[in-house]
């Protein structure tokens, strides 16, 4: 099989081939589509919209924290601003972003299927996301919520007079969007793989999305019922979490984090899958330790369910429980480290290209490692008691959830942009944006580690003057970061019209099945269902990009 699957020359380039983008131009053909690729584009637009809304709140937070005293806003407004930032970013951006955009687009393509197993449920899940998003926007415009994104009781059930029930309903509905996506992915990966595509030939992005989907369907219903109980308690004054009525606020925290900790892995796992793809292609090598990387995704999903109480070390759980959860939290470090080491080993002696996707992948490895190692610090009970609810925690989870997830997402978006649109993004601008994001991110969040360690608590709108220098650095970094995120948005839109048209379907000479059909793909993905006879990442059988483009640098 020396000539495996680069049907570049057979692809008709000149004649405008019917693809998923030009197959129907009406609004209806988009809003009622069941094509997973079009739904991915719908998600791409809506998720980007919510990213910039959430980013707007982030800028308000950073502006307020520029000075020690409250001058842009006071406590009440500030509480609402960071709550809306958290709720929108977590539930309407980070959780759906990679699975719903890249996953939706790529899962069927990568496994040689014509669509997801349940195309209509896929569309339904986008509509649920939109209904939840509209409801959350309504909450946002009519007063917001001030509990923090965690809905902690009894504040949320008894004291605050903001729109808890509406916000809870929005999260509940968006949660079902997530459940349906996960269910769809699992069934698709089990039942729709092309002939010959065995489990140990699956791309690691598929493994990562499979593990993510497991968490989605096992975890999300629990937070759904928890939010229902909060809403019921608030509406009907039942005493489910109210200590005056015999209830236990700790139970709420247990149930909430039972989902919301694994939710972090819903965010990061798909990005890890993206990074595996990017590294294998950019280093032109089969991923080192393929099986370990694949199974480490599943291991993270499983261990992820056993660590939730590390959010509660100071909440009053027993010391023995805390010790066990501390130990289990450390154990998540093992599969995570397996991934990082194996990526590094893949790069060793690879012929690495430094195109934008790879820059983002490098950024991911760096930022995720920082986030992961500080996570181990936080899993240590002694340190955690010291830094609970400080900026140390804020910096830690931003390194994982923003640094990690967004680096993977943007890297993937650049990598598959020619697949999705048939056009290239402008490479120089893209490299600039990767640089801006990396520098801006570190400048924003690294000072927060120090702030937290020095004792600056999170969720306060003012702080002692001696913290100002570091806060100014953080705000300055946030401005650079904002430019780094706006830039891709601008040049991606620009490239839709002016970007270089991809003359062959596989500009990266990448190995995945998704590259063996035209770019952009036809509505049913493949003219012939592919038959897979090779292992994943068979880069040793594919000529390197440089060899096929002798003139290009």
């Amino acid at each position: 099989m020396a000539t495996i699957g680069i049907p570049a020359n057979q692809a008709p380039v000149s004649a405008p081939k019917l693809n998923y983008l030009n197959n129907g131009h009406t609004l209806k053909s988009w809003l009622l589509t069941t094509d997973h690729k079009r739904i991915a584009i719908l998600y791409l637009i809506s998720v980007t919209f919510f990213f910039f809304i959430g980013g707007f709140f982030a800028m308000l937070i950073r502006l307020e924290l520029l000075t020690p005293q409250g001058d842009l806003m006071q406590a009440d407004t500030y509480n609402k601003v960071f709550t809306m930032h958290g709720m929108i970013m977590v539930f309407f951006f980070l959780i759906p972003v990679v699975p719903a955009v890249l996953g939706n687009f790529l899962v069927p393509l990568m496994i040689g299927a014509k669509d997801l197993a349940f195309p209509r449920i896929n569309l339904l899940s986008w509509y649920l996301y939109i209904v939840g998003g509209v409801l959350m926007s309504h909450v946002m415009l009519t007063g917001g919520v001030d509990t923090g994104w965690t809905f902690y009781t009894p504040f949320s059930t008894d004291y605050t007079n903001t729109k808890i029930v509406e916000a809870g309903l929005a999260v509940f509905i968006a949660g079902f969007s997530s459940i349906f996506t996960g269910l769809n992915f699992i069934v698709t990966i089990h039942r729709m793989r092309a002939p010959g595509l065995t489990w140990d030939r699956l791309p690691l992005f598929i493994w990562a999305n499979y593990a993510t989907s497991l968490i989605m369907i096992l975890g999300t219903p629990v937070v759904a019922i928890t939010i229902v109980l909060v809403a019921v308690e608030r509406l009907f004054h039942l005493g489910i979490f109210d200590p005056r009525l015999g209830g236990d606020p700790l139970l709420f925290q247990h149930l909430f984090w039972f989902y919301s900790h694994p939710a972090v892995y819903i965010m990061i796992l798909p990005s890890m899958g993206v990074v595996s793809e990017l590294i294998a292609c950019s280093a032109r090598k089969r991923i080192f330790g393929y099986k370990f990387v694949a199974l480490s995704s599943v291991a993270i999903a499983v261990f992820g369910f056993l660590v939730w109480a590390h959010h509660m070390f100071v909440a009053g759980i027993s010391l023995y429980a805390a010790m066990i959860f501390s130990f289990l939290s450390f154990s998540v470090g093992v599969p995570s480290a397996v991934k990082v080491f194996n990526w590094t080993a893949t790069l060793y002696k690879g012929s690495i290209s430094y195109a934008t996707p790879m820059l983002y992948a490098f950024g991911f490895i760096g930022l995720f490692t920082m986030g992961g190692l500080t996570g181990l610090m936080l899993a240590t009970i002694g340190i955690d008691v010291h830094v609970t609810d400080t900026y140390f925690v804020v910096a830690h989870f931003h390194y994982v959830m923003v640094g990690g997830v967004l680096m993977g997402y943007l890297g993937g978006l650049h990598f598959w942009w020619p697949k999705m649109t048939g056009r290239m993004y402008p490479e120089a601008w893209a490299k600039l944006s990767a640089l801006l994001v990396f520098v801006g991110f570190n400048l924003t969040f690294f000072p927060q580690f120090i702030l937290g360690y020095l004792g600056m608590p999170r969720r306060y709108w003012q702080y002692p003057p001696e913290f100002q220098t570091l806060n100014v650095m953080s705000t300055a970094g946030a401005s650079i970061l904002a430019a780094g995120y706006l830039l891709p948005m601008i040049y991606f839109v620009w490239s839709l019209r002016y970007g270089k048209i991809v003359t062959e379907p596989n500009p990266w000479a990448a190995a995945g099945l998704e590259w063996k059909t035209s770019s952009p793909p036809p509505t049913f993905n493949f003219d012939e269902t592919p038959v897979v006879t090779w292992e994943a990442y068979n880069y040793d059988e594919i000529p390197a990009w440089e060899r096929r483009h002798p003139g290009a640098k």
Binding site: K17, L18, N23, A113, K114, D115, A117, F118, P119, I121, I179, L183, N184, I186, V187, T188, H190, R191, M192, I217, L218, G219, T220, P221, V222, A224, I225, T226, V228, L229, V232, E233, F236, H237, L238, G239, I240, R244, L245, G246, G247, D248, L251, L255, P522, T523, F524, D527, T529
Partner: protein, 246 residues
């Protein structure tokens, strides 16, 4: 495997690629599946996964119930005394019978007996409604005895069946009833959805939508019904029975 022509107006890519090589046309086969078996397997797996999410959904409440029952055992035992075993047991029987009729409905669909299928589906809906009506009577009784949590809640009856006084904090019994209403209410909501689902199935079955080659919706709705039954099979002893052995 070529794409099938005439699949809901979606054009096929290569006009010359359409050959009429697919097996006997099955109108229920969606275009993205290779064959009916694959479609059925996918739908079935999807349903089982959905049931998993349902179990996790109810699992949150079961977890809360068990924690609070451990913390406030006497209050929960006293609250449990207030529930009617007769009505609860009747409802359990109704649901178990309805599960049997669901199985018979699936069997009828498999055999292609349309009228029998419709009959069992209708009987299932009726049994589901019977359950809901009995549940409604139970709820009414709780309203009358001021056992609904909230400002009107009163709990004075702190004697067990043998006339022994139980030391109980009424607030904690209110918690029992909070969970009672939350859990049985959520279960009843699922029963209502189930009744709606089976009504639609009955209409479609009457119109002849289901054949021995395609009755996946009947089978999957049946799985849903069984799960809702099983949840009740756990709710009944937890809420009504296990505190009564004193």
């Amino acid at each position: 495997m070529r794409f099938q022509p005439g699949n809901g107006g979606i054009p096929v890519q290569n006009s010359e690629a359409v050959t009429v090589e697919h097996e006997a046309h099955n109108p229920a086969l969606l275009h993205h599946f290779a064959d009916a078996q694959q479609q059925k397997n996918a739908a079935s797996l999807g349903m089982w996964l959905f049931l998993v999410t349902e179990i996790m959904f109810f699992g949150g409440m079961f977890c809360a119930y068990l924690v609070y029952r451990l913390n406030h055992f006497n209050a929960f035992a006293a609250g449990s005394q207030q529930l009617s075993i007769l009505l609860g047991a009747t409802n359990t029987a109704v649901l178990i019978i309805s599960s049997v009729t669901v199985v018979l409905a699936v069997k009828a669909a498999e055999a292609g007996k349309r009228k029998v299928l419709v009959g069992y589906l209708v009987v299932t809906v009726l049994l589901g409604m019977t359950f809901l009506v009995i549940k409604g009577f139970e709820y009414r009784e709780k309203f009358e005895k001021h056992l609904v949590p909230g400002p009107t809640f009163q709990f004075t009856d702190t004697f067990d069946d043998n006339g022994k006084q139980i030391p109980v904090n009424p607030k904690e019994t209110e918690l029992f009833f909070s969970l009672y209403f939350a859990m049985t209410g959520m279960h009843a909501l699922h029963m209502i959805i189930g009744c709606g689902l089976f009504s639609v199935l009955a209409i479609l079955a009457w119109k002849g939508h289901y054949t021995p080659g395609y009755y996946t919706p009947v089978e999957n709705a049946g799985l849903y019904w069984h799960l809702v039954d099983i949840i009740w099979i756990y709710l009944f002893p937890l809420l009504y029975l296990i505190s009564r052995h004193s």
